[in-house]
């Protein structure tokens, strides 16, 4: 059985380490916050200008001045700090954030990532995604293994406009987990298979070359 959205988030949460500063993208990556292991201290950054993001407010406690990068109302924690967008992206580009978990439309075996633009469709913009993938120490992609029509999203070469070149370290899909040698020449390494997914199945659904670890 391929992993569900919740299982993907649970698997991505295994990439967290005690003391990490982490930026979570919109969608499945946001769910990772629900699976931070007990006793582990992780500080969530929101690129609109906040470190130490808390949970959603109780009904009636919403504060229009306190939102996350998805424009959702949130809360602060005792450790919270606020700062400008310039300081926020200084943190991001400057390599001070340990981990970014984000979604993707395509990834290739060299760690190139496309997740912001489909030519011919209304383009909403890249937001902070290009800064995050360029600057954060470790970039983990969480995505469906194939598109709705069954085409592999793990490609030899991305077909969509790129968000970053040689930026992805790890890809977690509903079928398995791959490590990428983004600065080297080695093929992707398959680290894990989702429960009940065979090597033959993942081979058939993966265009980019890979080796089994």
């Amino acid at each position: 059985m391929p992993w569900t959205r919740e299982q993907l988030a649970q698997r991505a949460a295994k990439e967290l380490r005690d003391g990490f500063y982490v930026n979570l993208g919109i969608g499945i990556p946001t769910l990772v916050a629900n699976y931070i292991p007990q006793g582990m201290e992780v500080t969530l950054q929101s690129e609109n200008g906040m470190l130490g993001m808390g949970p959603f407010p109780y009904e009636g406690d919403e504060d229009p001045d306190l939102i996350n990068a998805g424009k959702q109302t949130i809360t602060a924690l005792p450790k919270t700090s606020y700062f400008s967008s310039a300081d926020s992206f200084g943190m991001i580009r400057g390599g001070h954030i340990d981990l970014s978990i984000l979604g993707a439309m395509e990834v290739n075996g060299r760690g190139d990532l496309a997740n912001w633009m489909v030519p011919g469709k209304m383009v909403k913009g890249m937001g902070g995604a290009m800064d995050l993938v360029a600057g954060v120490k470790r970039v983990v992609v969480v995505m469906e293994h194939t598109s709705k029509d069954g085409a592999s999203k793990l490609l030899k070469k991305c077909s969509l406009p790129l968000t970053g070149v040689n930026v992805v370290d790890l890809v977690i899909t509903d079928l398995g987990v791959f490590a990428i040698d983004k600065h080297g020449e080695a093929p992707m390494r398959l680290l894990e298979l989702a429960d009940g997914v065979s090597l033959d199945e993942i081979k058939a659904k993966t265009e980019a070359p890979f080796v089994s670890a």
């Binding site: 929101s46 001045d65 939102i67 913009g125 890249m126």
Partner: protein, 235 residues
């Protein structure tokens, strides 16, 4: 001593708007936007403006108001997904759009206000945003040259301000406002609370008054774009 305090948003923009001008507008989504000054800018009737803002408001609020009246010729933004009228005008070819990565946009404003003509960043290298731009290798890594931005006018929103123009922002409503305040040839700030000089803690001021030409106290709707909550646990 020149008086920086204006009675309302409309008078605060008098004499400093003109057709074809470039305007920076603070805020992230609808959080920390200069909502009264946006309405005053609309009512000024200024046309063909270029607006630098991370987002483009929503239909009928924020910068969406200036889109409805077709006063905006071009937007420089990082994300514009929340506005149907924006999409309609863009797809009809009525509106120009330049996407900047969010951090690059913030830094372009910071640089413009700080007298920095350009800077090298690794954001966007190898992507569409780096096309046609100079690149340079530092310590084996490629960076792309981006330029500083200076606008004819910046409009910003702060929580507290004093009559000298010193500003303090609140929570995530700070966002782009501090950089934009520095990068307008004229800067007009609107605040929720306006006090006498000396009433703000000088150590707590985010934007020193030198950057602010005019200041006005406003009433704010502070609309929420995505109201997300959790249930109270029963005691």
């Amino acid at each position: 001593m020149a008086n920086k305090v204006y009675a309302d948003a409309r008078s605060a923009l008098e004499g400093i708007t003109f057709d074809g001008m470039m305007v920076m507008s603070g805020g992230f989504g609808l959080c920390g936007i200069p909502e009264n000054l946006i309405i005053a800018l609309r009512d000024s009737g200024v046309k063909n403006i270029t607006v630098i803002s991370n987002n483009a408001g929503v239909d009928s609020w924020g910068l969406g108001l200036l889109l409805e009246t077709k006063q905006i010729k071009k937007m420089i933004s990082s994300y514009v997904g929340e506005n149907k009228e924006f999409a309609r005008q863009f797809l009809a070819g009525e509106l120009e759009l330049e996407f900047n990565p969010q951090g690059t946009l913030a830094e372009r404003c910071r640089a413009g206000g700080a007298g920095i003509a350009g800077f090298y960043t690794k954001t966007g290298v190898g992507t569409l945003v780096a096309e046609g731009k100079e690149t340079k290798v530092f310590n084996g890594e490629t960076f792309v040259l981006e330029t500083g931005l200076v606008a004819d006018l910046s409009i910003v929103k702060a929580w507290k301000g004093d009559k000298e123009g010193n500003l303090i922002y609140r929570e995530t409503a700070r966002n782009f406002n501090p950089m934009m305040a520095t990068a307008g040839k004229k800067c007009v700030a609107e605040v929720e609370i306006l006090v006498e000089a000396g009433e703000l803690d000088p150590d707590a001021i985010h934007t020193p008054g030198i950057f602010v030409d005019r200041i006005v106290q406003g009433n704010f709707e502070k609309r929420i774009e995505q109201r997300t909550t959790r249930k109270r646990e029963n005691a």
